[in-house]
């Protein structure tokens, strides 16, 4: 689905450029275009060289605000947000967020600390959210007796939240049904 969409955009891009080129050539501005091309190339190279020499971001908008060759000062550690209730979800298939600290939790082949409370067996005892039934289906859609191996590592999808400002402005809006 996504691949197809990506392919479409990639295809439509050169088409329009070619059409534009043709119209320019037809209108007899070839010489002017060549000069412009040379100028652009020169500009491009000089920018590249200066960028390499000065090791700057080259005008690219980057989250890194400090020179690559120097070590940035460490940010202060952020406090993990804790709540007795669940966090709001912004899109339909968003994995629920973890509303508590998970310091010292272990998830390995021997033990899964998350499931100590969130498994079907223990969830009601601790008043915890029960893992959804989807966790019992393996990648072939076959139902397993316990959590499927590909759904066992909780932190691949579920993450705790810290109280921080976003690094980049985000215009994402949830659909109406989730607002």
């Amino acid at each position: 689905m996504t691949d197809q969409e990506g392919g479409d955009t990639a295809m439509s891009q050169p088409m329009t450029t070619t059409t534009r080129m043709k119209s320019i050539l037809k209108s007899g501005h070839l010489r002017a275009l060549k000069t412009l091309g040379k100028g652009l190339m020169a500009c491009f190279f000089s920018i590249t060289i200066s960028t390499v020499a000065m090791a700057e971001t080259g005008g690219i908008d980057s989250l890194r605000t400090i020179d690559l060759s120097t070590e940035a000062p460490a940010e202060a550690m952020k406090k993990v947000l804790e709540s007795d209730t669940t966090f709001h979800r912004d899109f339909i298939e968003q994995p629920p967020l973890i509303p508590h600290d998970i310091r010292g939790y272990t998830v390995n082949k021997d033990v899964n600390t998350c499931l100590q409370c969130h498994s079907w067996k223990n969830a009601s005892k601790w008043g915890a959210t029960r893992i959804s039934v989807t966790h019992f289906y393996d990648r072939d859609g076959k139902q397993r007796a316990d959590v499927a191996p590909n759904r066992y590592f909780c932190l691949q999808c579920h993450v705790p939240q810290a109280d921080t400002a976003p690094l980049q402005k985000n215009n994402f809006e949830p659909v109406d049904s989730l607002k």
Binding site: D84, R103, G104, T106, K109, D110, V111, T113, L115, Q116, N122, W126, G127
Partner: protein, 204 residues
């Protein structure tokens, strides 16, 4: 006349007959000083085996359990208060401490035979070692936890709702039920070390 006797008999006689020339005061003073030295020395020696340096002088402890413990709250936390090995694994009272020390001397045999001298061997034996420690703590009502985490001074209102409820049920009971008599270790397993395979353990 004395030289005729066997030397052990000679010493036995010396020990069983009253002193002829030394005064009672000297004997008492000597006994008092010797008592202090031996008793003090014994306890100092026993305390020495309670230090972290002593525990991690064996690589079995230093490379496995000590490394795991370093990431936990009992080693590293906001206020800098620590619980070292013996705070959790050795009773504070003298008699239980002595009993525990004698039991622990069995570990010397394990050390000599190399029962857990690699990480793989250690992991293979983790469950049985953990179960032994859980059983010990269950038997003494998690006394080593309670040496610091004294229930009488535990403010439940400062705890999360879930912790408050569990602690109330376990220790105080409610209007409708008596305390369940669960002890710390029933829920708080693996707080300072990695857990073994928990398959079949109650509550997991």
């Amino acid at each position: 006349m004395m030289s005729k006797d066997f030397f052990l008999k000679r010493y036995w006689k010396m020990l069983t007959t009253p002193a002829g020339k030394i005064s009672m005061g000297v004997i008492l003073a000597f006994g008092f000083v010797a008592g202090i030295i031996f008793w003090g020395g014994f306890n100092t020696g026993m305390e020495k085996t309670n230090t972290e340096e002593f525990c991690i002088s064996c690589h079995e402890m230093e490379d496995n359990v000590f490394e795991e413990y370093k990431a936990t709250i009992h080693y590293n936390n906001r206020s800098g208060v620590r619980a070292v090995c013996s705070d959790c694994h050795v009773p504070k009272e003298w008699t239980p401490k002595l009993v525990r020390k004698i039991q622990a001397s069995k570990e010397l045999w394990g050390k000599m035979t190399g029962k857990i001298d690699t990480h793989e061997k250690f992991v293979a034996h983790r469950r049985e070692m953990a179960e032994r420690e859980w059983a010990r703590m269950k038997a003494n009502d998690s006394q080593e936890c309670r040496n610091c985490h004294n229930f009488d001074y535990m403010d439940f209102s400062e705890q999360s709702a879930r912790a408050m409820e569990s602690h109330t049920k376990a220790f105080l009971g409610t209007d409708k039920m008596l305390p369940t008599g669960e002890t710390c270790i029933d829920c708080h397993k693996g707080i300072a070390h990695e857990l073994p395979n928990m398959h079949g353990i109650e509550g997991w």
